[in-house]
């Protein structure tokens, strides 16, 4: 069973809209991540966090923001959606003290901007 949850699972939204993708984990992991992945392609790191009140930019961060007010919650916000944002967004978490367990991923949010 996945211990990291992403909502919504699918989202179709118009250009210019502000959207927030939700991610929550119940494992108490300090580190959390957002990745963007086009079908059949590599994952691109958007943002990550070391813990509460920590946020760091990844490779594709310029058009989105994140917050980490609580350990379990790491939402991603697109201030103004564009068709180029159409993609799958994957949230993940990890325990730095348990590296052998790797990252735990959510099932993803598939976003379509029309």
């Amino acid at each position: 069973e996945a211990d990291i949850y992403q909502t919504p699972r699918y989202l179709v939204i118009g250009t210019g809209k502000k959207i927030t993708l939700e991610c929550s984990q119940t494992m108490g992991h300090d580190k959390m991540y957002w990745y963007q992945q086009d079908p059949g392609m590599e994952l691109h790191l958007i943002h990550y966090s070391y813990g509460v009140n920590s946020t760091e930019k990844g490779d594709l961060s310029s058009e989105s923001t994140v917050s980490r007010i609580r350990t379990e919650h790491f939402p991603l916000t697109l201030e103004s959606a564009r068709p180029s944002h159409t993609s799958q967004y994957l949230c993940a978490s990890s325990d730095p003290l348990q590296a052998v367990d790797g990252y735990t991923f959510g099932s993803g949010t598939r976003l379509t901007v029309v």
Binding site: G40, E56, G102, Y103
Partner: protein
């Protein structure tokens, strides 16, 4: 930026055959991990090999690591149709993990 690169991009085999996927990376690493992704879903962690290890086994999975060549391989033995998925290597070098584009494995029944 991308760190690991998988090869081949796609692989199609018959059930019962072995599948070998390779991964090359560019910089020094702490560990290398392999993940599996079923179509349209998140990634699932399969196995981690540390930089001071050369080989590791987990069930039908065998992973090797050659740090001198900056490469790793994932072997799935006695493949099953349910192994059909994309397989990604990921390198853990600094503060975050970088994934390649994956190998798309199709196992025909």
């Amino acid at each position: 930026s991308q760190q690991g690169e998988e090869d081949p991009q796609a692989l199609s085999i018959q059930e019962g055959e072995n599948a070998t996927m390779n991964c090359s990376y560019k910089t020094s690493i702490n560990n290398l991990q392999w993940y599996r992704q079923n179509s349209g879903r998140g990634l699932v962690h399969l196995i981690l090999i540390r930089s001071n290890e050369r080989e590791k086994h987990s069930g039908r999975l065998r992973v090797t690591l050659d740090t001198s060549k900056k490469s790793s391989s994932l072997l799935i033995t006695a493949s099953r149709a349910a192994d059909t998925a994309s397989y990604f290597c990921a390198t853990d070098a600094t503060e975050d993990m970088r994934f390649g584009a994956g190998t798309r494995l199709t196992v025909k029944p």
